[in-house]
Structure formats: C-alpha cells, structure tokens
C-alpha cells in the first residue's frame, strides 16, 4: 500500500487523478482506518490530507465560515465564532464517535463517508452549507445534500476532493440545532437524526427555516414541507405538531438492526419538535 502526504491541494488532486487503483483520501481516518482494520477496505494508496495547511484552518468567508476539510471536530468545538454562528452544526459534528475520535474526525470526511446516519450532514444541510470541490478540471461549489448519492457513494468525480465546507452568513435572530436518537448516551450511531435551522423576525415569527433528517432514507433528506410548517408561525405548539407530522411523513426508513420503520417515523417527528424548540431558544425566541 502506498502512503502519500502532499502539502498542497494541487498535489493531492493530481495524485488522486493519476492513481489507477483503489486510492482513498485520509483526513481524520476515523472511518477509513476502521474499515481497513476490519477488512472492509484494502486500498492500494492512501492520500493523507492533514499536511495541507489550508485544509487545517477555519477562516471567515463572505460573512460565513470556510472550514477546511482536515479540521477536526474538537477544533470546531473550540472555535468561538463558529460555535456562536452555527451551534447546531458544531454540536452535530461533536457527536461523532468519542472524545478520542473528536481529535481526528472531520466534517468533510463525515460527508464523504456518505452514511445516511452521519451526524454532521443533516446539520450542514439545514444550514445550507456548500462543499468546495476541487478536481483536475477546476473548482466547483456544490450544496452538501448533493454530495452523497446513496449509502457509501458520492457524486464526486475521479480525481475530485472536497477541500472545504462553507457555512453561509448567519443573520440576526437565527440559529440551529441538531438532535439524534441513539439507544445509548454516546459512542453510538444515529437511529434518527434531525437538524433545524431557522430565522425569527423581531416579533418572533419564523421567516426562514430549513429542516433536515438523517437515517430515515438512503441519503440525508432536506424536508421543505417541514420548513413550511414553521415559516410564518411563532413556532408554537400547533406549528411544532405540523412540523412533526411533516417530518414523519417525509421519513422513508427501513427496518433494520438499529430500529423499526414505525419507530423511526415517529421519532423523526419527536426530534424535529425538540430541535426546533432549541433552535428557537438559541435564536432568541420566547419559550
């Protein structure tokens, strides 16, 4: 197995594009190394992205934030500006794995692993985050919900990598929240995940919202009907019930070892209500 540690994005892209075999990108490695150790992956080459300085940084961009693809969950959790603007995205990323895993795992890696249960992805989708994709033919910007195409598969072309996730500018009276259901209290994988991002006006009426569900379909879902249930309301009990109903209706889960269809459909609604209440409170709305 070949191990490459480029120091620029260009080098990484050309190595990735040039390799003819099974070539994998290593950011935190918290998925890749586990797969390799459990005989689920046997790559011919691994390209380590952590030596690329630009990928280790969190920088302001257009009023929002550009989070490099190799920034760890722990680094995000310690970034005051990011936490203030996007607490839901940070809390979702900080739920990945354990304290030890947080020192390595990355949001971009979580996205490219393309698990429908990935914790940071619903939060990024609700936030309206975009991925900056660099490839042999240049750079493009793609909404994060368009990156995974199914469990374990992505829309990235040969030679392409994500070098940063860009979170948009966070306006006034706006916030987000992410909740997941797990049978334990940590070290677990979402049976259902839900992220809500919303903006309130001065009266506390919701003027904008995005709602996203994880682990209830082959990819993370953006649920416009759920957002519509909130927009124009004071995010009161009636609106929350409508939100829950929209989320349950949008959920298209399967029965598996982690949960049943009935359970996931119901809990999608429960989590949506709870997440919306948290987001509302964070945005300065009345309880």
């Amino acid at each position: 197995m070949q191990y490459l540690a480029p120091t620029t994005v260009e080098e990484a892209v050309s190595a990735l594009a040039a390799h003819s075999g099974d070539c994998r990108l290593l950011a935190g490695g918290t998925d890749l190394l586990v797969r390799m150790r459990s005989d689920m992956a046997d790559p011919d080459a691994v390209i380590d992205l952590k030596r690329i300085d630009a990928l280790r940084q969190i920088n302001p961009e257009d009023g929002g934030w550009r989070v490099g693809a190799a920034v760890s969950g722990a680094e995000m959790g310690e970034h005051e500006g990011l936490v203030a603007d996007w607490p839901g995205v940070v809390e979702a990323t900080n739920l990945i794995g354990s304290t030890q895993v947080q020192g390595r795992c990355t949001m971009a890696g979580n996205l490219c692993n393309a698990s429908p249960a990935a914790d940071s992805v619903p939060a990024m989708v609700a936030a309206g985050a975009v991925a900056r994709v660099v490839g042999p033919d240049g750079t493009r910007v793609v909404p994060v919900e368009e990156i995974p195409t199914g469990p374990g598969t992505t829309s990235l072309a040969k030679g392409e990598l994500i070098d940063a996730i860009i979170l948009p500018e966070r306006g006034a009276r706006s916030s987000d929240a992410y909740l997941r259901f797990i049978p334990r209290t940590e070290m677990d994988i979402a049976v259902v995940g839900c992220a809500v991002s919303l903006t309130l006006d001065e009266d506390g009426t919701c003027t904008a919202a995005r709602v996203s569900l994880g682990a209830v379909a082959p990819t993370v879902l953006l649920v416009p009907e759920a957002a519509d249930a909130l927009i124009g309301t004071k995010v009161d009990d009636t609106a929350l019930d409508a939100l829950a109903a929209a989320c349950s209706a949008a959920a298209k889960p399967i029965d598996d070892k982690r949960g049943t269809v009935d359970f996931r459909v119901h809990v999608a609604g429960v989590l949506a209500k709870r997440a919306a209440k948290i987001a509302k409170k964070r945005a300065g709305g009345a309880a």
Binding site: P183, R184, M187, F263
Partner: protein, 750 residues
C-alpha cells in the same frame, strides 16, 4: 501445639482482611506494562488466521487448500483433517468440532480452516485462496422454532434418555426439579398468573479478545501462553484434542482483560498447537472483535413459561416454570442451572421447574456469570412483581414473606444452612433509596437473585523466603482480585503485613490440578487453601522455634507473626518472629513452605436484592437508569473494593442485557451486529454510580466466613430493571432487551 486447624468458620478479629489495600496488579495495568494474551511473542513466530463459515448451516463437501499452501510466506494450513477424531468423549469432541468444523458448518463464523504465515497480510490473503465447497442447509436460530416439528435438524441421535419420544431432534435434554403438588397449590391461590417471557442471547463482552501463542517442538513437548480463566483446563482439553500427555504441555496464563465465564473453554488454542506441530514454529493467534462475537460463546437465549399462584396477602401457594434455552450448536445450554435457581430465593411448598436444552445454528454457548440464572430470575421475579402489585402489596414485603431462610428446603433439593436473603431484603427496606420520591415517567423495581457458588480442585503453595517475606503460588488466573485477596488472607493468618506477601499465578507445571476461575470459587476455595497453606507453614515454623529453644513442638504457639512459648511450663524464651525463623531455616531443616490441596465442599450459596429507578421517555421509549442499589451477602468481604466492583459489574452487565444487548440474526442466519457499535454494552455515561451495600452473613464452610460474590450480582438486574421500566411505562414488557423500539411499541399499545 495450639493451632486452630478447623476449616469451619470461627469468629475472629481481622487485621488485614476487610481493609482496602493497594492492588498488586494496578501499576502495571495503568502504565500499560501488564502482558495480556496478545502481548506474547517468540523468535520465529508465525501469525495464524482462521477461515470461517459464511453460512449458518452447511455441509462441507470439500476443502481445497492447495493454492493457499502455495502462496509464498504461508507455512502451514490446517483443517479438521489435521486432528484425530475423538470417539470416547462427547464433551471434548464437541469442543474440537467447535474449534474446527467437521462435516458440517453449524453456524455463521464456524471455523473451517486456519493458515499460519509469516505476516498478517499473507495469512489473510491465503484465507481468500482456500476453496470450500458448501452445500447450504436450512437453518434455525430461535429456540421455540428449533423445537417445532419439521425444524431444520443440526444433529441426529444426540438426545439423551430424559427426552420423550416424538420431540424435535434439536431437543437434547430435559431437566426437572421441585417438590409438592402444583395443581393443589394453585387451587389455594386468590390469583394465578401465567406468562411467557423471552430473553435474547448476550455476550460476556470482555474487552480483551482471545489470544494465544503455541510452541510445540519435534520432541512433542509444548508450551502455550494464553488468556484464559483456567490454564489447567486449557492444558487438559488441548492435551486430549492433540493426543498428548498432560505433563508434556505447559500452559501459562497471561493477564486477563475480562472473562465473565466466556474464557472457561478453548477456541484458538488447539488450532495454534496443531499449526505449530505442522510448521515446527511458534504460532500466534489473536481474534478480532467480530470473531469474538461470531464464534466464541455468548450465553443462551431463552423462552420461559411461568405459572405462579398467590393469596391476596402475598403468600405464594405454588410456582411452576418451564424453561427452554438454546445453547448454540452443541448440547450444554445452562438450562439445568436455570431450572435449579429459578425459585431458589423462596420457601415454597409446591414448586416445579422443567428445563429443555435445545440446539440451534448459533455459536456454542459458553458460561456467562451465573450461567442460566439471570433469565430464570427475570421470568420468576417479573411474575411475582406483577402479582404483588396486582394485590397492591409492597414487593419487598411479599418477597420477605416468602423468603428462603436457614432450614428451607430449596426448590432444587438441598436444605439451606445460614443464608443472607432476608438480610438483603431488610437492608433494602431500610435503605433511603426505598423511600426516595419518584417523578413523572419514573418507576422503581426490585428483584432477588441466587447463585450456588462452588469449590473445586485447588492447590496452593506458600513459601517463606530466606529474608522472611512470603510468596504464594495459586493456579487461578486473577480476574476478580485473587492475588490481592490471597496475599491478604496469608498475611492475616501469618500475622504479618500485607506488603510482605506476594501472590503469583503459577503455570501448569508448578502446581497440581486447579479448577477454572469460575463458579465464584476462587476467594472461597483458593482462599481456604491459602489459609491452610499458611497454617501448615506456621506449624513448621513452630517446630523450628521449638528446635531452637530445645522444647517440645506442642509447647509453641503462633501469635502476631511470631512463635511464642505456649505457657509458663514451656520456659521463658523471647518470641521468634517469622523473619528470625526464616533467617535460621537453613540450619534448622532447610526451606520452609506450606501447601494445601483440596476440593472443598462448603461454598456457601449467595443471595442479593437489587433496587433500581428508571425513567422512560414517553415519546421515544428510551430508558434512563436513574439510581441503582445492590444489596448482597458476601459472607466476609476480604477486600471491599473488589466486592463492590463485583456487585457493580454484575449490575451493569445485567442492565445491558435488560436494555440493549442482543444477538441479532437475519433471516439468512447471519449475525447482524458482530461489533461493539451495534452490540450495545452500556457505556459509562449510560449509568449512575451503582451503590452497594455489603452484608456479611458468614459462610459456615470457610475459615473466615467467605462466600463467592462474583456471579450473584448479575442474577437480579434483568428483572429489577424490567419491574422498574414496567412501572415507569405503565405497561409490562415480557421480552428482553427492552430496546427503545420495543418500549415505544408497548407504550403505543397501552
């Protein structure tokens, strides 16, 4: 000589026993120096990996290993053809068949071949080159389904004479215990309930995967290092499988990262020995977590019918249970222990249990802490709780009313001597936990549990060194603190400080036969042998002092770590300390040692009562453990930290079993959750501090009153948690685990 040689309990003032001394293995374990199974290596060592069946049930028509053997770096491949068949011992033959499949693969993960190579990568590549021609057969993994007419059959003709004609060949044995007349007793009840309960298979979940290093020379002598609960068992089993004399195989136990019963048999060791014999090289094997879950021994899953009658004042008039346990693909599920222990906590006039041992296409079960008892207690304690609450009675009072006590004829036969069940129930009733208020969606559950405890073959040697310190050699891997406990009991008996005694776990060449570290036997049996070894050494030291003083041996007594003249007539001699006697040993007859060999009978039974508060999230079915208290009789707690640890550990494993742990099989018979992500043992943040109350009702059969404590603690929690959750949810659940989807579904069906 004025020594007390009685092995029975005698009251005494303890100086060392009962204190919380520093554990001798602690520093090495926290600094990473301790050597576990996978830490052993040898010059020229090969690495071996196992090829495992991808089918739940399949006939092995042929195995072609030629391409694997031709791969550069491969030194040897073994299949069942490399082992001699065992025709005179079904027990050992089944162990061999489980280590390496014969004509059939009986479960997903069953070993079919193994490769020894000069690297992990080569070994894994070689496994892919082995061609196995399988004829896939129908399979069955559920215990009730396996008992049905027409169920896929694993073995023909293995049922023993207790099984009536006409049952599925998967039913291998029937057990029955009890006394009195069930129907007559039920007729006297004000209410009779009949319920069926099911529990899923759970794994012991030890953190350390199985690992070993085997080295066999061309002269037929062999050494084996491994992580095990009993290296003497490993020696005897491997010698039988390999056709060796036991004396030619020396086994050394590594430090052990948990066992809980799961390391009381062998999985890798005979395969490593066979590969070493074939390659003339040392061979190391280490399991992955997935292999541990797929191919070692979880405990049985169960299906249990209970019928209990009670009067409206809480008197149980009759109690019946029929227990069906599947123990995987071979005979030996722990249903016999389940049937014996189910009603052991109660003094019953009419009681009967019937147990059925059933095989399915699952891995061969291994012992798991109080094997068979937790599921039986879950069923019985759930039914008693439902009856008590139905009458509006205090569940602790009902249990006290029916509690077994000294003189009770136990449901499984014997009459109990002094036991501690009532003491645990009274302690529970008096504890602040019982009176604490509960909030919305919260419930409190209690349950009792019993375990037999055990003695078994035991050898201990205690040596006095020339500088007057003491070494103790025992033959049981230290899982629950036995090195500390043995050092403490030796120090107590000799009258010297704990720090002057060091206990080691000796290899199989150093002592006679020692039973496995199981049955909560070690602190009792090895402790007894350690005390007797110390007494033998004291007798010898009194003899040496007598020789120095020129008086009769029986004119010398041992007190406070020194030999003293026994009375006025013995003459005025200043005491000789252990150190002084050791210093002159060479001139008074040579080195001084004591040893003791025994199979002690007096292991006292043990009882516990557990109390747990839970909160159920009515919207998701998630269960939170709010508060947990264990009340258990320890006889005498030699080292209270370890005793509390045993109480807490059993409670936590039981909580996992009750809430989220389960073997999940797909329709294809393949294990769906062979990893710690989806096989959910509780993590620290899932749990409150587990409070403990140690009760000490001395065991009459041990010099210091010690009872085993390791297993009883896992017996009550399944039921205690179930009773608590049923109260919190307002609906009774009768299947484990009570995972959130099941609880939510029960809430929705209210």
């Amino acid at each position: 000589m004025a020594l007390d040689d009685k092995q029975q309990y005698q009251t005494r003032q303890f100086k060392v026993v009962g204190t919380r001394v520093k554990r001798p293995d602690g520093v090495d374990k926290v600094t990473g120096k301790a050597r576990f199974g996978a830490d052993m290596s040898a010059p020229g060592m090969l690495i071996a990996h196992v090829l495992r069946s991808p089918h739940a049930h399949a006939r092995i028509k042929s195995i072609d290993t030629s391409a694997a053997e031709a791969l550069p770096g491969v030194h040897g491949v073994v299949t069942r053809a490399d082992f001699s068949e065992i025709t005179d011992d079904d027990f050992t033959a089944d162990i061999l068949d489980n280590c390496m499949a014969g004509d059939k693969a009986l479960y997903d993960g069953h070993a079919v071949a193994a490769v020894a190579a000069n690297s992990v990568a080569v070994a894994k590549r070689a496994l892919k080159l082995i061609k196995v021609d399988y004829e896939v057969l129908p399979h069955v993994t559920d215990v009730d389904a396996a008992m049905e007419d027409g169920a896929p059959v694993l073995h023909d003709g293995r049922a023993n004479e207790t099984v009536p004609e006409g049952m599925s060949p998967n039913v291998l044995a029937r057990y029955e215990f009890g006394h009195g007349d069930i129907e007559a007793g039920l007729a006297k009840a004000d209410r009779v309930i009949e319920r069926t309960y099911k529990t899923e298979a759970t794994h012991q979940g030890y953190i350390e995967p199985h690992a070993c290093l085997a080295s066999m020379g061309p002269d037929g002598q062999a050494d084996l290092w491994c992580c095990t609960q009993g290296h003497y068992m490993v020696r005897n089993t491997c010698a039988a499988i390999m056709g060796m004399e036991q004396g030619q195989l020396r086994v050394t136990a590594s430090e052990i990262g948990g066992g809980f019963g799961g390391k009381t048999t062998v999985f890798l060791e005979p395969v490593a020995l066979a590969l070493s014999r074939k390659t003339s090289r040392p061979v190391k094997m280490v399991m992955s977590r997935s292999e541990v879950l797929r191919a070692t021994g979880p405990t049985a899953s169960s299906s249990i019918d209970v019928r209990i009658g009670m009067t409206k004042d809480g008197q149980i008039t009759a109690a019946f249970a029929e227990l069906r346990y599947q123990g995987g693909a071979y005979p030996g599920s722990p249903v016999e222990f389940g049937s014996m222990s189910a009603f052991a906590p109660y003094d019953l006039e009419n009681v009967k249990t019937v147990g059925w041992d059933v095989v399915t296409n699952r891995p061969k079960q291994a012992a798991y802490r109080a094997p068979g008892a937790p599921m039986a207690a879950y069923a019985v304690e759930s039914a008693i709780d439902e009856l008590a609450k139905g009458f509006g009675l205090d569940p602790l009072a009902v249990r006290l009313k029916n509690a077994a006590r000294e003189g009770t004829k136990a449901s499984y036969g014997p009459t109990f001597p002094a036991i501690g069940l009532e003491a645990t129930l009274r302690a529970a009733k008096d504890h602040p936990h019982w009176a604490a208020p509960l909030g919305e969606n919260q419930g409190r559950g209690v349950a009792c549990g019993f375990w037999f405890n055990f003695g078994g073959d035991t050898c201990v040697t205690l040596n006095i060194t020339p500088d007057g310190t003491v070494t103790v050699s025992e033959g049981n891997p230290d899982i629950g603190g036995s090195r500390a406990s043995m050092s403490m009991m030796a120090a107590e008996e000799l009258g010297i400080p704990y720090e002057q005694v060091r206990t080691i776990v000796a290899d199989t060449g150093s002592l006679g036969q020692n039973e496995v570290t199981d049955g909560s036997r070690v602190t009792f049996a090895v402790g007894l042998a350690t005390i007797e070894s110390a007494r033998a050494a004291k007798r010898e030291m009194c003899k040496r002092a007598a020789m120095v003083w020129g008086i009769e041996e029986d004119a010398v007594k041992w007190e406070d770590g020194a030999a003293h003249p026994a009375g006025e007539n013995a003459g005025k001699h200043p005491p000789m300390t252990l150190k002084e006697i050791a210093a002159v040993a060479s001139n008074t007859g040579g080195p001084i040692a004591g040893h003791h060999e025994a199979n002690p009978e007096g292991a006292g039974v043990s009882f516990a009562t557990h109390m747990v508060d839970t909160e159920v999230d009515p919207e998701t079915g998630a269960v939170k453990i709010l508060r947990y208290t264990v009340f258990q009789d320890a006889g005498k707690a030699v080292h209270p930290d370890y005793v509390e640890g045993q109480f807490q550990g059993g409670a936590v494993q039981g909580i996992g079993w009750a809430l989220n742990e389960e073997y999940i099989y797909g329709d294809d018979g393949i294990l769906q959750n062979a990893g710690f992500l989806d096989y959910r043992i509780p993590v620290a943040s899932d749990l409150p501090m587990i409070d403990t109350v140690i009760l000490e009702i001395p065991n009459p059969g041990h010099p210091y009153g010690v009872r085993g404590v390791g297993e009883t603690s896992i017996v009550p929690p399944l039921a205690a948690v179930a009773n608590s959750v049923s109260e919190a949810a307002g609906v009774r659940l009768t299947q484990l685990p009570m995972s959130p989807p099941k609880v939510l579904s029960a809430l929705h069906s209210k």
